[in-house]
Amino acid sequence: MKVLVALKRVVDYNVRVRPKADGSGVETAGVKMSVNPFDENAIEEALRLKEAGKATEIVAVSLGNAGAQEGLRHALAMGVDRVIHGEAGDDLDSLAVAKLLKAVVAAEQPQLVLLGKQAIDDDAGQTAQMLAALLDWPQAVAVSKLTVEGNAATVVREIDGGTETLNIDLPAVISADLRLNDPRFVKLPNLMMAKKKPIGAIDLSAVAAAPSLKTLKVAEPPPRKAGVKVNSVAELVDKLKNEAGVL
């Protein structure tokens, strides 16, 4: 079974993001970038499928400008077999990404596509479902446990207030939740080796994938104003009861 992992390079989750001075978008110049954490879970799970003898080849793909290649190097260092960069604009929305990934799936013919449940930059959480729709494949979203048996997968997925277990036919698109696994740390020698490996390319310029969504403005939300210090539990309870009215 061949597994395709799609990953996105995003602003690192520890960075405090700010709007650009003109409010037209998010300031990313000089900001630390990393592979989207949920996509790292997807990479890790693919590697485990291979180590368990369920997957034969792991191919990672990332779309975007040349920066996407850094994320692919990280995937190589984690242990994926091959990586593909699809040059694309940086104004893609989820539907556009899904259309481009569909073309990658057509070229690679995987049995399983794994990706993160959402990217921590735009937080849309749509790409896996949209790709599954365009391929007319089953989907499993926010998966925290994956078992592949023959031509089907049993998944436990995170839902509000608990989990849901499904059994779905392959080929399928599965999106990873944080709980799926703990991604392995990348060791320095592996990173050095990854720098020497080739990064494949796929020409997606013929795919019609104009974005539907347009971001007009990015702003910081109104800040919470710092409140007051209380001196005792009794004072706290009194404030919560009589001032805030939440008890």
Binding site: Y13, P138, T163, E164, T165, K229, V233, A244
Partner: protein, 312 residues
């Protein structure tokens, strides 16, 4: 005539409040609003849906295979209804998140996730970077597909009188088989929708102390338990209660942070809470910058004292 279609959220105890709030959001277009009830629902759910003020029709797709609707089946059903609607929406819940992107792609339209504001017909404000920033986003004119953060709207009244229409559902997709559902958390409410959340950080010291210190307080308040990423990474709390950018984003009426330092990614997950209480022994902890009420004290003293004070 064009209209808005809203997918209802309900369980065996009835229609969820998120549905009532989302009806208000659905009225942003000044179009008739229909509510879709997926799967077998008890009489109370249908009756409650009928009474939603301002709703024109309740569509009931009473098919056994929609009892735990797969995205595949629900999206196909929505496709069969789409011609009559200019907006298809749902609360931003695991159900809405699962179904609507699939439906939007089948219709070849973009989708807006977790709208906080709606400027009809096609402009929205939504959170990005876990709510650290707000983006104003336009979708293309035409069919609008979106989820909304329901708590941003006031629930509609319950004096309506909508008609119920039974509708047919396409056959089940045999490639997807529902096995089971497991509701975690036992007695405690679900973290993402709890009215009160009590959370702890790494300073709790161990899994045993985490539960022994915060458990009674949460029980007393009828609260959900939450934890910081540091506490989860240290193994003091299960990872399904992690609050923050990579965990669950919460917006309760009352958030009580016990021994939480206030890392950026944690603050991102709690900043829409109505009232934040912080208890920390470090007077310079970041959490105090966002807390409505701060108490500089040892959480191991405060937790039992607060629990006892609330019992009075």
């Amino acid at each position: 005539m064009s209209a808005v279609l809203l997918i209802a959220e309900f369980d065996t105890s009835g229609l969820k409040n998120a549905t009532r709030q989302s009806v208000r959001a659905a009225q942003s277009w000044n179009l008739p609003v229909d509510v879709l009830v997926l799967g077998p629902a008890n009489a109370a759910v249908l009756e409650q849906a009928q009474k939603l003020a301002g709703v024109r029709r309740v569509l009931h797709a009473n098919a056994a295979h929609l009892a735990h609707p797969s995205a595949e089946d629900a999206a196909k059903l929505l496709q069969s209804l789409a011609a009559d609607y200019s907006v298809v929406m749902a609360p931003h819940t695991s159900q809405g998140k699962n179904i609507l992107p699939r439906f939007a792609a089948l219709q070849d339209v973009g989708m807006v996730s977790e709208a906080l504001e709606i400027n009809a017909p096609n402009s929205y404000v939504r959170p990005i970077y876990a709510g650290n920033l707000l983006a104003t986003v336009d979708n293309k004119p035409g069919l609008q597909v979106l989820t909304v953060r329901a708590s941003r709207w006031k629930a509609v009244e319950t004096d309506g009188n909508a008609e119920v229409a039974q509708i047919a559902a396409p056959a089940a997709d045999s490639r997807v088989r529902w096995i089971s559902v497991d509701h975690a958390g036992g007695e405690r409410p679900e973290l993402s929708s709890a009215r009160v959340v009590v959370s702890g950080g790494r300073s709790l010291g161990s899994a045993e102390k985490f539960e022994a210190t915060l458990g009674p307080l949460a029980t007393q308040l009828g609260a959900a338990l939450g934890a910081t990423r540091a506490a989860v990474d240290a193994g003091y709390a299960p990872n399904d209660i992690q609050v923050g950018q990579t965990g669950t984003i919460v917006a309760p009426e009352l958030y009580i942070a016990m021994g939480v330092s206030g890392a950026i990614q944690h603050l991102a997950g709690i900043k829409d809470s109505r009232v934040i209480v912080a208890v920390n022994i470090d007077p310079d902890a970041m959490i105090f910058q966002v807390a409505d009420y701060g108490l500089v004290a040892d959480l191991f003293d405060v937790a039992p004292e607060l629990t006892a004070a609330l019992q009075k």
